[in-house]
Subunit: 186 residues, 4 copies
Amino acid sequence: MRITKEPEERKQEIFDAALKLFGEKGYEKTTIADIAKAIGVAQGLCYRYFPSKEVLFDSAIDQYTDILVAQFADLAENSDIPLKEFIEKMPTTVEDKNTKYYAVFHGPQNKKFHDQLSLKTCEKLVPIVEKLLLQARQKGEIQLADLPTAAAFCVYGQLGILLENGMDQKEKADRIRTFLIYALQL
Amino acid sequence: MRITKEPEERKQEIFDAALKLFGEKGYEKTTIADIAKAIGVAQGLCYRYFPSKEVLFDSAIDQYTDILVAQFADLAENSDIPLKEFIEKMPTTVEDKNTKYYAVFHGPQNKKFHDQLSLKTCEKLVPIVEKLLLQARQKGEIQLADLPTAAAFCVYGQLGILLENGMDQKEKADRIRTFLIYALQL
Amino acid sequence: MRITKEPEERKQEIFDAALKLFGEKGYEKTTIADIAKAIGVAQGLCYRYFPSKEVLFDSAIDQYTDILVAQFADLAENSDIPLKEFIEKMPTTVEDKNTKYYAVFHGPQNKKFHDQLSLKTCEKLVPIVEKLLLQARQKGEIQLADLPTAAAFCVYGQLGILLENGMDQKEKADRIRTFLIYALQL
Amino acid sequence: MRITKEPEERKQEIFDAALKLFGEKGYEKTTIADIAKAIGVAQGLCYRYFPSKEVLFDSAIDQYTDILVAQFADLAENSDIPLKEFIEKMPTTVEDKNTKYYAVFHGPQNKKFHDQLSLKTCEKLVPIVEKLLLQARQKGEIQLADLPTAAAFCVYGQLGILLENGMDQKEKADRIRTFLIYALQL
DNA sequence: TATGAATGAGCGTTCATTCAT
DNA sequence: TATGAATGAACGCTCATTCAT
């Protein structure tokens, strides 16, 4: 039973399976055999699309964080509302339970994988937030001089909250919003 | 040639070598053989002190971050000066070039290991900073209501700056100080 | 982009590419994919012309040594000059820098492949040389009783010189000629 | 059931098994698993002694040809008899049915392996024969000017005979002796 | 306490070959 | 005739861990 697919489709299939498994079991404990079995293909096929397990891993992380960040970037670019309002409305976790990837972030294990994903996401978020701050300053909403630093704090600062246990998402979001509005002096 | 040492000393020796190698080559690429060879000891000996490689790794990270954090905790606990002054004087990288561990953080490789260390350090730093903020509030220097959130932002926010490339340590430190003073409204 | 060619032409194309690559990288390290790529063709196509990699290899070696030996056979058959003169004029390497195959023998790698080629060439050369010796004996130029043995020595003996390093082709050729004339007592 | 041996002994064990199997099945078709199984140890153990299969192969060939050549070298060095007599008595195949390695050369398969062994043996034999010729010339038994070339012919020339099929060992030996005496003009 | 030879399971990777198109 | 995605079996190699000494 040999099923041939369009390369793009196959590649995405591998991506998705890889991300899911890396998320569940971590990099080391996920084998190429696992990934291949998950989509019902021969191990060797993975190597037509990715030269190595490591590249597959990095690509998967990269693609996934791109998706997450793109959602936020959309919001940021298409909003003309004041920054304060934006903060009050924005999602603080860029993750949306609706995506097919939701499980990735929420498996019980693999804190390390989660951390890596978080850091990569932050990295990509900073320039977007910086642009947002710049617009706000141009409109006179904030007075900050050093926007890159402010953006980094706004983004990475959330990590501290998000990575904590024992508080529900909603409460985390509220605290983040309140603090941001205070710190940016909006 | 068989050199017998005090258990504690041996254990520390293994710790140090492990930390160094994990830092240089990462968890997966560092073997027990590497570690044993680095201190001129048989592989089997490592297993008298640590039940497994993973435990050794976690212990090493833990011990190291403890050391880093302890330096900062000392400062925080023995200072009566106003928070603003404290911020102006504090080291923003808890690392000190004098420690024997300096290389760990600064090998060219191993972003992943570095990230892990950073996150763990942040985690341990938050309660200390929170206490610092509490003292400041008691003295009327700040008005913040939600100290845990503020502490998290102060600590993790720095990560965004620290992980960036292309800026020297001094400039990073200045930007961090300026932003903190602004955000905390000191 | 699908280019259809005459079967014979295609087959030859595959031969040539295979020979070149086997010569450069050796049997094991040359893949069918390499060969196919070298001529810009799908892997599967090779299997329309050769049932397996091993057959392709053997055919390639065989065809190539045939070409080399044919050059020498031509010379031998169309010459009426005395053996001594023949030796003085003959090429000692049957290879000719003009052939498209020249590189095969002179890649830096692959001693093993080279050796194989040499041995196969010798094998095919012996009967030709034997005939040459027979003609010479009939003309009274030599006295040897055991021509097969003599032929074998004349051919394989050269291997020892040819496989040596650190002497230029010309000097090798001279030494071979001088020795042959001495040993055959011409 | 774990049997520990002296490294030297283990290494030799691996050597012997490897040589035997390479001889029987050829390089490619012999797996490290085969070799390990043959001596009843774990595959991994082979890698304590040899860094790779290829190195193991080369070492095995090298060690074996050393043994073969050493037998001949002994003869050559400890003989004061005239060259002609030496040739009449010498073994033309350096192999001796008594050695534990006898089977290596005489498996049905693996012509390639056999060729490789032969060539390597010749390579090592040449300098010894050259020395022999030098002694003979000093005693006035031969007149040859170019001894390196003569030695190469004497050694490699035999290959042509040895590699032929369909003649028994004894006849091959006789023909070789007769030709050598003729060619060297003894 | 210390050694280091030995284990053994597993993993990433390769590649000749097949086959649906 | 030609493609190239897919197969699948195998292989070399690694290494955490064990254990006899």
